[in-house]
Symmetry: C2
Subunit: 247 residues, 2 copies
DNA sequence: TCCAAAGCAAGAGCACTGCTCTCGTTCATG
DNA sequence: CATGAACGAGAGCAGTGCTCTTGCTTTGGA
């Protein structure tokens, strides 16, 4: 029997094979750090391999030993960003779970955590939820990290369902089959009605964040946090979570 | 396909000042057309002044007689895109108004028209609703065209309110002042409760479209039109429009 | 009618970019 | 210890946005 792949990876990481391998890991991390720094300052389109190399005191061609192309470096940053926003959501959910808060409140807390991460890392947010780079096709490595926020939201709904605290929203006929497939694929233990509403709420949540971050609310909305909180609460209700305000 | 001319443009066009001026207008239009073509094929980041000039049989420096910089060319395309999606929304609204459809149905029709325009012009949509270009600040010329879709939605709600067909959604205390300001600024004749809900629904609508267009629904949602229709209907209800489905 | 002023296209050139290739050097391992 | 792989440096290619100069053409006023 072969051990789990995770364990095998940890094995490799703990077993330092030599100075060269360790240097490689360090340089790779340094490149990503510098790239992330430039990303935060100038944004993805301005991220330049040459500038990263320059700042690191090496020549541009040396960078290709670590990342075969600029897109691959971007992919690494994308994965990191998905992981970071996913971790922020998971942490918020964990904190709420400890306090035994009602599901709707946990939903709002997670939503706010996601929004706050986005406000703190606008360029990284734009990298993962903004316009995709044309010609760039997200490799499979990204789908796992990309799902983390969604899974947190699913968990909240599943918990509410198991506790009998979930009101089933209406479901259009044309959506039932797809909703059942989605439930089976990545939301086991959640009724299809809620899965469909959940996916819609998920997109709407990020719509609010994107509008705020991408400047669509400029000259329109001022009290953005209040609007977000209120709307996130209504989205919680729309997926069937009991209203937190009436508790 | 020429975009809707602005007032002063029409003025100038009717008063032909000379061959030179006419040539200038034609060349400007040709540049925009070619740029739009390349935009549709490759996307905004790949849009190259030199390539546009090459395709038009002129030298790159000549292009600067018409657009002082690449950003200015992009601005022109942005204004056109806002105008186009605004026109699509207005047309859908006009068609629905002629048939005296209930407000919620008109809301859904406008939403679907916007979505369909987005699906037909993904790169232009990404240009106006995707990640903003870092360092690029939208000039004032864009705010008018950018507001058109929103104004169509406001009109529907205002019509429903005047007809006594509007249910007022709840409004958080922290939002009332801002909502009143918004109502005074650009939604006269609409109660503040509805304005706040309207702005949120507006962002959520585009969140759905962006998620679909930017690939976030890949491997998740299949029946995207059905999900959009259902959610647009619920958004209509969330701003207080009478449910169309129960008619 | 003539002429200066303004508009225009072209070309050279600058400082960049991503990326490839070659050339010595250094390291890890059989 | 010797050999092959990994590595950093540098030159070079094709492309980019943008500027400046150089002539030519059109335009509008004297």
């Amino acid at each position: 029997m072969v051990s789990a792949p995770i364990a095998w990876q940890t094995d490799r990481m703990s077993t330092i094979r030599g100075a060269r391998e360790r240097a490689r890991i360090e340089v790779t991390a340094a490149i990503k750090d510098e790239a992330r720094k430039q990303l935060a300052e100038e944004g993805a389109p301005k991220l330049s391999l040459r500038a990263v190399a320059r700042e690191l005191g090496m020549v541009s061609s040396a960078l290709y030993r670590y990342f075969p192309s600029r897109d691959d470096l971007l992919t690494a940053l994308i994965v990191d960003a998905f992981d970071a926003i996913g971790a922020a959501a998971e942490q918020a959910a964990a904190e709420q779970a400890a306090g035994e808060a009602p599901p709707a409140e946990r939903w709002v807390a997670v939503s706010c955590a996601v929004r706050e991460w986005a406000l703190a890392h606008p360029h990284e947010y734009a990298l993962i939820y903004g316009s995709p780079v044309p010609g760039y096709i997200a490799p499979m490595d990204t789908v796992g990290p990309a799902a983390r926020v969604g899974l947190v939201l699913i968990d909240i709904v599943r918990g509410a369902y198991r506790a009998g605290d979930l009101t089933l929203p209406p479901l259009a006929d044309g959506l039932r089959a797809d909703a059942e497939r989605m439930a089976a694929d990545f939301a086991e233990g959640v009724p299809p009605e809620s899965v469909a509403a959940l996916v819609a709420a998920w997109a709407q949540l990020f719509g609010l964040i994107s509008f705020e971050l991408f400047g669509q609310f400029n000259r329109v909305v001022e009290e953005r946090e209040a609007l977000f909180r209120q709307t996130a609460g209504e989205l919680a209700r729309s997926v069937g979570l009991r209203d937190a305000g009436t508790a």
